[in-house]
């Protein structure tokens, strides 16, 4: 029985949920997965950093409310995040990157990922920035250093979209991919259908915690744009820049548009898509689309998200599930760690003296 030591970069909702998951069901997961998990380092913009090579006492840490955490008061703690130092020289085998998404240049997450891969550490991340903007280069970097770069949570949280594409469609010709990949805008569209005006629908989404104070990235399609870039690469091998993905949001839609569509049996949805053209190039865009009732995405409602893969032999295969949520996204990181284990197995995890992985 082996073990992986984790460094958590960013201790907001997602990595805190991962820590809770490990604290609450680490033993059960160990029995199921064949390896243990230990957190040995945490960095956070506000709380500072904490490095304990023998393993951080998670239940004690999690007893403190998020806003009250001050790592500098603990052994191995500092008021500074010290991200570079912790990532490069810290004791972790796997770096879990879950800082904020920066759609412009991916920083600082992009540097976090690079530092980790260059130091020979596996990386799992839920951060769309580095994956969308530099995914192919980071995959190469990981391969050169013999480690893994996993990012299931960058599209639809823990819903296994990227792993479906990678593992379960082998042998098919995938001609395109399209999805409803933003729960906030999908919720707002539902409220418009119910007759709410756009500003009121946004306020409702904010009150429920779905939309941020500045809802631009969600309602103008920029969040989906990054996910389209990720899917276009993972599914169609296309290396797109943001300017290659035309982007139109939902802020121009009104309840009247919704009623008009409904009268024709259609539903407006914010659809991100990437399609292989005849000449082999890839057309990618984000735009509202009025979908017929029998379209696989037409009935995806509320904060549920879905992605359809268009294939030659099976037609459309669609996976739907949660598109966000701290626990749902923390599971994405766990699924990444499981994938790292499957790829690297016995050679990678710390082994306890009396046991070995294959035993």
């Amino acid at each position: 029985m082996g073990r992986y030591d984790l460094s958590l970069i960013g201790f907001g909702g997602v990595n805190r949920s991962l820590a809770e998951l490990i604290a609450e069901r680490g033993d059960e997961l160990k029995a199921e997965l064949g390896f243990g998990l230990r957190v040995v380092a945490i960095t956070d913009l506000r709380a500072g950093s904490l490095v304990q090579a023998d393993g951080i006492d998670l239940p004690a840490l999690l007893a403190t409310a998020p806003g009250e955490l001050d790592f500098s008061r603990m052994a191995g703690g500092s008021t500074e995040p010290r991200n570079q130092q912790v990532i490069q020289d810290g004791p972790g085998d796997i770096v879990a990157e879950a800082t904020f998404t920066n759609p412009a240049d991916g920083e600082p997450a992009l540097s976090h990922v690079r530092w980790a891969l260059e130091a020979g550490k596996h990386v799992c991340t839920t951060n769309k920035g580095p994956v969308a903007l530099q995914g192919p280069a980071l995959k190469d970097l990981a391969a050169r250093h013999g480690v893994s770069f996993e990012f299931e949570g960058s599209v639809m949280s823990g819903t296994p979209i990227l792993r479906t594409a990678e593992h379960l469609l082998t042998g098919l010709r995938v001609t395109g991919v399209e999805g409803i990949m933003n729960g906030t805008s999908n919720y707002i569209l539902g409220r418009l259908e119910a007759g709410a005006a756009f500003p009121d629908a946004v306020k409702e989404a904010q009150a429920l915690g779905y939309a941020e104070a500045d809802p631009t990235a969600d309602v103008e399609g920029f969040d989906v744009q990054l996910k389209v870039m990720i899917l276009a690469h993972q599914v169609l091998g296309a290396n797109l820049r943001r300017q290659d993905v035309a982007c139109e949001g939902i802020s121009q839609l009104t309840p009247a548009d919704m009623r008009d569509a409904a009268s024709r049996g259609l539903r407006w949805k914010l659809v991100g898509q990437a399609t292989r053209r005849e000449d082999g190039s890839v057309d990618a865009r984000v735009a509202p689309a009025a979908l017929p009732a029998d379209h696989p995405l037409a009935a995806i409602s509320g904060t549920t998200n879905a992605v359809s893969f268009h294939t030659d032999l099976l037609g459309a295969v669609t996976v739907s599930g949660p598109g966000a949520g701290r626990t749902e996204t923390a599971y994405a990181l766990l699924s990444d760690i499981i994938a790292i284990h499957h790829r690297h197995g016995a050679a990678e995890a710390h082994r306890t003296p009396e046991e070995s992985f294959r035993g």
Copy 2:
């Protein structure tokens, strides 16, 4: 570069489509998958049997219409299917079983599968009978002989339902599974919604090739019952008999029921489900259910099928896609062969002298 030699048992639509797939894109698949595929034996109730250890010329064979095939006229051919002999002593590495489903005792497919596994051959099958009635025992038998028993096509043709359950939900607690798993009955329900009477809807489904001359297995839920048994074992570890799965079909539903449901925002669907009870046992059943519009299965229309996995950390994850079709089901066999290769890899496939698998 290695190769697998296949024996096709039953040469109806599904295995013939698999042969077409190999004939049409074998080279492309070889480049993608890293192994070649060759058909070395075929048996069929009507056409007899054909064994050619150096590989059957598929394009030549497929040029003959299905009803005209007579293997006895060919070298290595016989008027008799000789299933036992071909399976046990024939040259195949992998046996693809695609004879008719017998829900009573699984025969003769059950014997075909047993013979193959006992002879140390991998088996892939689309046949629900052996999987539903003896799946756990056959998995054990395969393990004892160091081979694989794969059956993605037994539920929803090539749509990767069983592999999603096996590989992509690791670490989650799956509390239940439910699905629309019969395209014929789902099509008929759609026709009832459009106002057609039940007998007329059945006739339409028959005219379109969706329903068989005797539609009982589809409309009375018996087909779904077998799939529920398969899912209950694969997802919840329950070993159920047919009598453990209460089964009610759709033949009592009328257009009036549909209208009444619609007026309450509901849609009637034939749902197969298996749910873990508080005491750990599993409740499994097939029955029509009036689903609310926001239920993940409510909008699954026509011959599309879907299965939802209910999980603790992600809530419902739903996979939808084709539930039937000869090409779609042939792809299930190909996906099984890919899974066999991933599990057994280099040790199993024939190697050509100048190359090896890992090279």
